[in-house]
């Protein structure tokens, strides 16, 4: 079976959506040239400058522009080059895009997709490495997906482009080059970005998403050698959050570890822990454990950078703690 990378999957999803639906357009800084990671490469050539718009460095205005185009029935995909710069677009996202449907008494809809990439990778530094999904999940009216593998990335983008309201697709710069066997491309309208079982297990449930999925799997493999069987769930959809399959898992394992790259305090793991303890209180044999980024600005130096987010070893150790 053919393989594709995470970046190729996203490019293919954009290509397929643009080919099917004239309303879809892309805009962002350097998207015509593929952007810093080449994700949109070739789309300007294929779909023309009228549908792939290179923009100035104006994150707020281009996001607002996309909101206006969405109000007019288009399906804009605006790229915020680094998730750290979502700060600059947040007024448009949180105060305009997410609210207009309700504020208009549902006269309006904002079918907008924001693509952005997060995460630590090769010392991009404190202003180019953050994972800020917790901010977005706290905004009613915004949906958020964070694919961890290529096939999910394809489906997540296609799904985002069918939603009635704004969706943020949070990619991970460290995943763009990751390969996966390519699944059949048929778009299934029933598909929802719910939790994906990455590895079944018996002793504990690890809940994670985005690039930490790989870290969790590496930890699970290492633990297996010691006879510890860990079940790994990749959330994929962060908002809305469907936890049903995860709850079932916890009802079997009775122990939970949550892992993400974002800073622990106020991170999505807090929401997950709060919900899980509320839903499966009686099934828990140990406190839910959260593992995430240290509460510091992300340092540049490679050994420090590696140290501020969870390693496979740290995940394994946390699993042992949860099992103790």
């Amino acid at each position: 079976m053919a393989e594709w990378t995470y970046a190729e999957a996203i490019r293919q999803a954009l290509t397929d959506a643009m080919a099917e639906d004239d309303a879809v357009l892309l805009l962002g800084e350097d998207v015509a040239l593929g952007g810093p990671f080449g994700v949109t490469r070739g789309l300007r050539e294929r779909f023309g400058a009228g549908r792939v718009l290179n923009t100035p460095i104006s994150e707020a205005a281009i996001t607002g522009f996309a909101v206006g185009a969405a109000l007019a029935g288009r399906r804009p995909v605006v790229e915020i080059m680094f998730m750290d710069f979502i700060t600059l677009a947040l007024d448009m996202l949180a105060n305009q895009a997410a609210k207009l449907a309700l504020l208009s008494g549902f006269q309006q809809a904002v079918p907008l997709v924001v693509r952005t990439q997060a995460g630590i990778y090769h010392s991009a530094g404190a202003q180019h490495s953050q994972s800020l999904e917790a901010w977005l999940v706290h905004v009613p009216g915004l949906a958020v997906v964070a694919p961890g593998v290529a096939n999910d990335a394809y489906r997540a983008v296609r799904w985002a482009l069918r939603q009635p309201g704004p969706v943020v697709v949070m990619e991970h710069k460290g995943l763009y080059g990751r390969r996966q066997a390519r699944e059949a491309l048929e778009w299934d309208p029933q598909w929802r970005p719910g939790p994906q079982l990455r590895r079944p297990g018996r002793d504990a449930t690890v809940v994670t998403y985005s690039a930490m999925g790989e870290t969790a799997l590496a930890a699970a493999s290492a633990l297996e050698r010691d006879g510890i069987s860990v079940e790994v769930w990749d959330l994929l959809g962060l908002s809305p959050l469907n936890l049903e399959p995860v709850l079932e898992s916890v009802r079997r394992t009775h122990r939970v570890l949550i892992v993400h790259e974002a800073v622990v305090t106020g991170g999505l793991g807090a929401e997950l822990a709060a919900r899980l303890q509320s839903e499966v209180f009686d099934d828990l044999d140990a406190p839910i454990f959260r593992l995430g980024g240290r509460p510091v600005a992300i340092p540049f130096s490679p050994p420090l950078e590696r140290a501020v987010i969870p390693s496979a070893e740290a995940v394994a150790e946390a699993v042992r703690t949860v099992l103790a």
Partner: protein, 312 residues
Amino acid sequence: MAIRVEDGIALYRAMFLIRRFEETVAEWVRAGLVPGFVHLAIGQEGAAVGVVHALDGRDVVFSGHRAHGHLLARGADPARVLAEILGRAEGVCRGLGGSMHLVDTAVGFWGATGVVGGTIPLALGAAWARQATGGVVAVFFGDGASTTGIFHESLNLASLWRLPVLFCCENNGYAEFTARAEQSPVAYARRFAEVYGIPSAGVDGSDVEAVFEAARAAVAEVRAGGPYFLEVEVARLSGHYEGDPQGYRSAEEQARQWARDPVRRWRDALAERGVAEEALAAVEEEVARQVEAAREQAQKAPWPDLTVLNHG
């Protein structure tokens, strides 16, 4: 007379409607009936009516926090706008938006916002998407908006992509309680448009005919392709918000401003041009009746039910 008498009377009717409407809102604010922050267009009717009457059914309007006049000029039902301002189920936004978040897509009014400058880029995207329709997108904002970053980012984009946007700055010389000179060394926001090569004009908002003419010329330029910046110099005859004690400006200044009342000035002009007092009085009476009916309807309108929130 530059415009036909019927048109002149239509302008007067529209301005008088806004004035009466806003006076109703002011009265209700004093009576404690209106929730939230309310920013009235009293004194700025010439801008709203002059510009909006230069638009047609293909066109779309956005506005900011001082939006009642723009929406009424666009032809919305005053009863439903009043109901919205009271937070009632019959409001244009079912009571969900309120004074600062008016929308009525049926009359091509795509939204107002409580965040200064917040709708400016939306107008750009809408204009881009609707280019094939020949429609213009007009966006109203105040002089204060010209100190926000989003305003400048938007001017650049509109010029770069030659978007059919009519920027309408209602320059009333104040942002809240602070005069323009304390906010920017640039007295007129249209100076910023000039840098981008966006054609622009300034016009006296107390002369609705001048505004209308300027707006017609502006709209023609936009339809021919590319943005235009129209700055309407208006007098804010009410406070920043209704209830503002206006300690920051003298009674004399406030009184002086009333000489720039566009409604009174246009009435006088029409009379001078031979429109009979009875004709004007008839318009006023008709509008008064319309507003009276709207008041009753709005006040009787039910509160929205909580289930409305689940719609989305």
